[in-house]
């Protein structure tokens, strides 16, 4: 009996009138937990009752505490007939189970009814007393912290990253039970809400158990989803990344007391590679800075690392690459504070070695999208897998094997894709489904990567354990771009060049990833949202036939989406995509594909070639003119985009004498900056494998040639493609867009944030639409949504729409639904100089020191500029590097994606896309350099402080899909918010039609999230997301139903300059609550 839950009902306000005769209400409250129910007295004839009840005490197992929500029902007492329910409040008490999170829940909660929406508010106090449970076989996992944030939460440091955790639970959907025919919609909705609440509690508990087993204490990047499979049941599944997190304060304690090398840590803090925006990582992960930091040269006698490591992330053949992460033996550095945890991971490791391949933990997957510096060594490219399944009824909810097996299959595929890319891990991993009737598309995607094994070992972040053999010898600003696979054995044909940043290793021409742009990455100019949109009609069918038809269509869709992305990327003169998310949604008669990503120009990667239009073979004059005009338009657009996104990559530099001297030898024979020659030559290319000086035997003199895409206009499809390329409007002046956390090149955010959700549903009235016209409709729908955002948010200019998350669905045969959640973040127009010094300055310096025409692929020469960059005497660094460099087979690469697709698809559409080479003159690049224009961002804007909300009686709660709030510091994570609501109406017209209905519902969901956060003592939600928004309507019957699932992390944040929490705000809220209570 390890827990006591106490609840007190204080008061209500703004209750609805339940008695028409008196215009008043006789309200009382039922408080229910598990099977125990308490009641308050009836407070007669009031719309603002003051119950001031006693403390209701529930003595319960902690298992139940985790699974069950506290259920509060407000009713109207009726002497003669049954009492009428006014509404309910479900309170998730999980945040109270964790000592570090909230200690009390106290505040006003909206009373929610699934038919009437919010009906007044109720003031509740909830506390939990937990007793220590020493039972080893316990089923609960109290105390494991959950974070939706897909990075190491600010204020914490990762002592160890254990890896992937997943779980799913299934049940029958109450909506489809026989009893639903005789009960009211309200009862059915409530049964569903309650079931899902229970299921997600159970899911969280089970995942927590897995984490404890692994020796971790937290789950980051926790991603929970619902699959409403209709007749066949209800699936709640979740994935996440198990970690051992340490609080900042305690973390630094460990550092100072157990390791003698604290001093260099502080040096590392000053390393110029640190990004000003990320003070947390900068200050608290001292050992994680890139290799050229000074502390490497210090004697590390007391804590010197073992001279070897069994993990060779670089070897592409390493069949055990996926287990490397966890098999890496402990270095023995985990002394001090972390010593106690040693047993856990060891045990886990042992078990892992023996367990079958079906054991989930074998998946080296990480749901994280942002990483501490140096965590990410190389990035291979996007890996994704999809499968189409036919749903069958889940017979035994306790044994959800089928669903498990499905995902298992998919994950195996992902793993093998990653391996093919020479990568041992997948980061930015996510899973989702799309269901239509009995067909279900399961999708998984992530980014193949090589990670720094230090993070997988205990005590890994402590300085002493710096394992030089494993340190990536590349500067952090470009290292992740270097190909992880062997270029002799590339998984697909690709064009490689020497890195434009460090000149030492190969980089691909294009890089696609699902992660956020690493903070330390060198980027030229700004980025922008790039979307590929696609509709494909399919015949209506049933069962197997339908599933087969869909799976036949999928590869084509993926291929076309990829082509669109590639073209749009080139049109913007960019060379990398981050945060790539591809969603394929299935409807009865069509498939919708939407790929969103943020395009940037990575300085390390070659400049993209242009897009060349080729006409038909026939010498039709008209046609040629047409081609020319299109070509001109495309060229103009590219030029315009370069200017718009300030893409002016440095091309030529005055010779730096020092660099010149040290590189002159190689200079003569090295055609630097040249792309790797044609594939047929490639096999003859000699690859240096390490330490000593590099020889490059084969020269490529096709200097300056660039890869250009050729679009052949040979059919209507191609015309359509080109058309869609050019119809994408760029955001108006003052706006930037991205679907990642932040936009490169923008640093001085103000505290003004505006999170919003927008939903649009289009009805296709025309029954006989072609693919083309559908595509047009779909593209317009997305573009118009963006235009609407720009207009609505025009008062926030200059601003960036961050984390633009588009979700598409086909709710009914002729409906297309697009839902977007994003945040508009305002920044100061005047980019202050500091911003550039912290980051931009760094880049330019590097660029200057790695002149395009001078660098050689020699480790000794490379060492010099990089050492300058870090401000450390050259000779020392060179020597240390000479011993440690082992990047020979760290062949890098990226976007393999295209080729993987090709393998899967076996077909290439109409062959109108080719790659070819085009000469780009040097003169051209010089002129583009001259384009370097001062920043021009939008119009001046009056600064509005978003925090001028002094005397409000309701705590302002900010919400953002990002992991941080600009200008503030998170001082406490209060727990995860994971809420599921159903709303139904039988008076659709009276509520303003579907728009009115959904508008109200979304506003209500926001209100309930804010109320819960405020009751936990918080003032913001970070990593907020709306996972599901399922709308069903029947205007003829005047009915509609909607389900919404939202999640996020409740936090307390303070202004960066303040030490104290925003007490003014929270206090006001609390006093008012107290006032109302008395």
């Amino acid at each position: 009996m390890p827990g006591k839950l106490k609840a007190k009902i204080v008061a209500g306000r703004h209750l609805p009138v339940m008695d028409r005769a008196s215009d008043l209400t006789d309200a009382f409250v039922e408080v229910k937990f598990g099977n125990t129910t308490f009641k308050t007295d009836v407070f007669p004839k009031s719309l603002n009752p003051q119950w001031n009840s006693e403390w209701f005490k529930f003595e319960v197992d902690d298992e139940d505490l985790q699974d069950e929500p506290l259920q509060i029902t407000v009713l109207d007492h009726d002497t003669y007939s049954a009492n009428d329910a006014i509404g309910k409040v479900y309170i998730d008490i999980d945040p109270l189970l964790c000592t570090e999170a909230a200690s009390v829940i106290s505040g006003w909660f909206p009373i929610y009814d699934t038919i009437h929406g919010i009906r007044g508010e109720i003031n509740v106090l909830v506390k939990v007393e937990l007793f220590n449970d020493l039972n080893r076989f316990r089923q609960s996992s109290c105390g494991v912290k959950f974070f939706c944030t897909t990075s190491i939460p600010r204020g914490y440091r990762a002592a160890m990253v254990h890896g992937f955790v997943e779980e799913l639970v299934v049940n029958e959907d109450p909506e489809y039970q026989w009893i639903d025919r005789i009960r009211t919609p309200r009862a059915s909705n409530e049964a569903r809400q309650r079931l899902i609440s229970l299921m997600s509690g159970e899911l969280q508990r089970k995942i927590g158990l897995k984490v404890l087993e692994m020796g971790g204490n937290a789950v980051v990047g926790y991603l929970q989803c619902f699959d409403l499979e209709g007749e066949s049941g209800l699936v709640v599944r979740a994935i996440g990344t198990a970690c051992t997190l340490e609080k900042h304060s305690s973390g630094s304690l460990v550092n100072t007391h157990t390791h003698p090398n604290t001093a260099p840590a502080s040096n590392a803090c000053n390393s110029p590679s640190k990004d000003g925006k990320e003070p947390v990582f900068g200050e608290d992960l001292p050992s994680s800075s890139g290799p050229p930091t000074p502390f490497r040269n210090l004697p590390t006698s007391s804590s010197s690392p073992p001279p070897f490591s069994p993990c060779k992330p670089c070897s592409r053949q390493s069949s055990s690459s996926d287990t490397d992460l966890s098999l890496t033996p402990k270095t023995g550095m985990g002394s001090g504070g972390s010593a106690g945890k040693e047993a856990g991971p060891l045990k886990t490791l042992l078990r892992q070695q023996t367990q079958t391949a079906l054991e989930q933990r074998e998946f080296p997957f990480f749901t994280l999208t942002s990483f501490p510096p140096s965590f990410l060594v190389h990035v291979g490219g996007v890996v994704s897998a999809r499968s189409v399944k036919l749903l069958d009824r889940i017979h035994n909810p306790d044994e959800p094997e089928t669903r498990d097996a499905w995902w298992e299959e998919l994950r195996q595929e992902i793993k093998s894709h990653a391996k093919a890319l020479g990568c041992h891990a997948v980061v930015g991993y996510s899973e989702n489904t799309s269901i239509c009737e009995e067909v279900c598309i399961l999708s998984a995607s992530g980014t193949a990567a090589i990670l720094n094994p230090r993070y997988m070992r205990e005590g890994c972040l402590d300085i002493g354990s710096t394992d030089q053999r494993f340190d990536d010898p590349s500067p952090p600003s470009c290292g992740f771009c270097h190909i992880p696979y062997d270029e002799l054995n590339m998984p697909f044909p690709a064009q490689l060049t020497y890195c434009y940043n460090c000149r030492r290793q190969k980089v691909p021409d294009v890089l696609f990833t699902t992660i956020n742009l690493p903070a330390e990455a060198a980027v030229t100019g700004k980025g922008c949202l790039i979307q590929a949109r696609l509709c494909r009609l399919k015949k209506k069918a049933q069962g197997e036939v339908n599933a087969t038809a869909i799976s036949n269509l999928l590869p084509f869709m993926e291929y076309e989406l990829h082509t669109q992305l590639m073209n749009k990327l080139k049109l913007r003169s960019m060379n990398a995509l981050f945060g790539l998310h591809i969603q394929i949604s299935v409807g009865e008669n069509m498939l919708l594909g939407l790929a969103s990503a943020t395009g940037v120009y990575l300085t390390a990667l070659p400049a993209p070639g242009g897009i060349q239009i080729a006409g038909k073979a026939s010498g039709d004059l008209n046609n040629e003119q047409h081609v020319q005009s299109i070509q001109k338009r495309i060229n103009d657009t590219i030029a315009k985009n370069k200017e718009l996104y300030q893409i002016n990559p440095p091309k030529l530099f005055a010779l730096d004498p020092e660099v010149f001297c040290s590189t002159n030898l190689e200079l003569t024979e090295e055609g630097v900056g040249s792309p790797i020659p044609e594939p047929r030559h490639r096999s003859r290319l000699f690859r240096s494998h390490s330490e000593s000086s590099d020889e490059v035997s084969e020269l490529d003199l096709s200097h300056g040639k660039k890869d250009a895409f050729v679009l052949e206009i040979d059919d209507t499809d191609a015309v359509e493609d080109i058309h869609s390329l050019l119809t994408d409007a760029s955001p108006p002046t003052g706006f930037y867009t991205c679907n990642t956390e932040t936009m490169p090149g923008i640093y001085n955010w103000t505290t003004a944030v505006q999170m919003f959700t927008s939903v649009r549903v289009l009805r296709l009235s025309n029954a006989n639409l072609s693919n083309q016209s559908l595509n047009k409709i779909f593209t317009d729908l997305c573009e118009n949504l963006l235009k609407s955002f720009y207009f609505k948010l025009r008062s926030n200019i200059p601003c960036c729409l961050c984390h633009l998350n588009f979700t598409v669905a086909v709710p009914e045969e002729e409906l297309i639904q697009v839902s977007v959640t994003a945040v508009a973040m305002t920044f100061d127009k005047d980019q202050n100089q500091e911003g550039f010094i912290t980051k931009g300055g760094n880049e330019t310096e590097e660029q200057l020191q790695f002149p395009l025409e001078l660098c050689a692929d020699s480790s000794s020469t490379n060492a010099q500029p990089s050492s300058k960059f870090s401000g450390v005497p050259e000779n020392t660094i060179v020597s240390s590097r000479a011993a440690s460099v082992d990047y020979g087979s760290f062949a890098d690469r990226c976007s393999t994606w295209l080729e993987l697709l090709r393998l899967k698809a076996n077909t290439i559409r109409r062959g109108s896309v080719k790659t070819s080479r085009r000469t780009q003159s040097l003169a051209h690049s010089v002129s583009s350099l001259e384009h370097c224009s001062p920043l021009t961002e939008g119009r001046p804007r009056s600064l509005r402080s978003s925090r001028s909300f002094g005397g409000s009686s309701v705590t302002m709660v900010k919400m953002t899909p990002l992991s941080f709030l600009p200008g503030t510091r998170i001082i406490k994570f209060l727990g995860i918010i994971n809420m599921f609501f159903i709303r139904e109406t039988t008076s659709l017209r009276e509520e303003g039609g579907v728009s009115g209905f959904l508008h109200t519902f979304i506003a209500e969901v926001f209100a309930m999230v804010r109320a819960h956060v405020a009751a936990l003592g918080g003032n913001a939600v970070v990593s907020y997301s709306m996972k599901d928004c399922v709308l069903m309507e029947n205007p003829n019957k005047n009915q509609a139903q909607c389900l919404i699932n939202v999640s996020g992390d409740a936090v307390i944040c303070v202004r960066e300059t303040d030490q104290e929490p925003m007490t003014s705000m929270t206090n006001i809220g609390q006093t008012c609550a107290a006032d109302g209570a008395t």
Partner: protein
């Protein structure tokens, strides 16, 4: 192909003041879009008509959802559905309760009943204020009236606290409530030249000086009704015109004081008895509810019109009324100084305010 559903919801509720005003003014969505387009808002953000329509619909929906809260403004501050910064809340309330002077002029002094509500179409047609806006304004008057009617304490303060209005707006509402309660006649042709602000000023004067609350603010419903005792006492002033000696004495005192100070002296002297009779008669008849209603029309007919036909300047009016009031104090046999001051103080400032073209 049609947009079936289109919503945009911000965590902080986004409200455009311009659209809010259009909504308050009773424009339909389509008309509002036209007005906004004419206003050039499209140039701001490369938007098109569809964008504008979608935005306008969103905002209209938000306002409609808010309207229930705006009707009891205290709820707006502690409701949870919309996150609206306090300064925006203030703006929303203030604008919601704002009214058109042309409209209020039409209903001022009328009973705020269903009957009047039925006439709103005519008023709308006459004033050019949309029917929707007329209804909102009328309902606001009625709502404020209903709430304040049953409250103790100062009228303006009650309105301000219950409806969170600015001082200025609260005073205007107090005037409206006061006029509606006493059913002052304001619609006669002769009164058409008077603006709402003229009446509001007069109402303020009456509330501050002639109600029960003006002397004792602990009494119930004091600010809305005139002080009956005072009205009774006003009858005593009749002596100023019925006693011939007193009338002559009063005249000579005033004339002595005025002589040489104004060009209109001759007219003043000639009209003194008429004007004095007019003012005192108004005072003595105020015990009749019917005569209270005609208070303003009487002031115009008995005093303002004669003066205007004699081309008195406003300065003349002030001068005349000042001496007229003060001279009564010197009259030995006149014992009702306090009542006289309470009466004339209000009359003087009302006439001065009302004396314009």
């Amino acid at each position: 192909m049609a947009v079936e559903l289109d919503v945009f919801v911000g965590n902080t509720t986004i409200m455009d003041e311009e659209v809010y005003q259009l909504w308050l003014d009773g424009y339909t969505v389509n008309d509002a879009v036209k007005v906004r387009m004419a206003g050039g808002v499209l140039d701001e953000c490369e938007a098109n008509q569809d964008v504008l329509l979608s935005d306008t619909m969103d905002q209209y929906r938000t306002f409609q959802m808010c309207e229930r809260l705006l009707q009891s403004p205290a709820k707006l501050a502690n409701q949870l559905l919309f996150q609206i910064p306090p300064h925006r809340q203030t703006m929303l309330i203030e604008r919601y309760y704002a009214f058109d002077d042309v409209f209020v002029r039409e209903v001022l002094g009328k009973k705020l009943s269903k009957g009047t509500k039925k006439d709103l179409d005519d008023i709308s047609a006459k004033t050019g204020v949309t029917l929707k806006s007329c209804r909102r304004q009328f309902d606001n008057f009625k709502r404020v009236f209903k709430v304040v009617e049953e409250l103790k304490g100062p009228l303006v303060e009650n309105i301000r606290q219950h409806f969170l209005l600015s001082d200025k707006l609260a005073r205007d509402y107090a005037a409206i409530v006061f006029f509606a309660n006493n059913r002052f006649e304001t619609g006669k042709k002769k009164l058409q030249y008077l603006t709402f602000q003229d009446f509001a000023f007069c109402a303020g004067q009456l509330i501050n000086n002639w109600t029960v609350g003006a002397v004792d603010n602990m009494v119930e419903d004091m600010d809305v009704d005139l002080d009956k005792e005072f009205l009774q006492e006003l009858k005593e002033l009749k002596i100023l015109i019925t006693d011939k000696d007193l009338l002559d004495q009063h005249k000579s005192l005033v004339c002595t004081a005025l002589r040489g100070k104004t060009k209109a002296f001759a007219e003043m002297e000639a009209n003194f008895k008429n004007l004095s009779r007019g003012l005192v008669n108004i005072a003595t008849k105020l015990t009749n509810t019917k005569d209270v209603r005609d208070f303003f029309i009487d002031l115009v007919e008995k005093f303002i019109e004669p003066c205007r036909s004699d081309r008195w300047t406003p300065a003349d009016i002030k001068l005349y009324l000042t001496h007229y009031t003060n001279s009564a104090h010197i009259l030995d046999s006149f014992k009702h100084q306090a009542v006289w001051d309470r009466y004339m103080g209000v009359i003087k400032s009302c006439i001065y305010k009302m004396y314009h073209d």
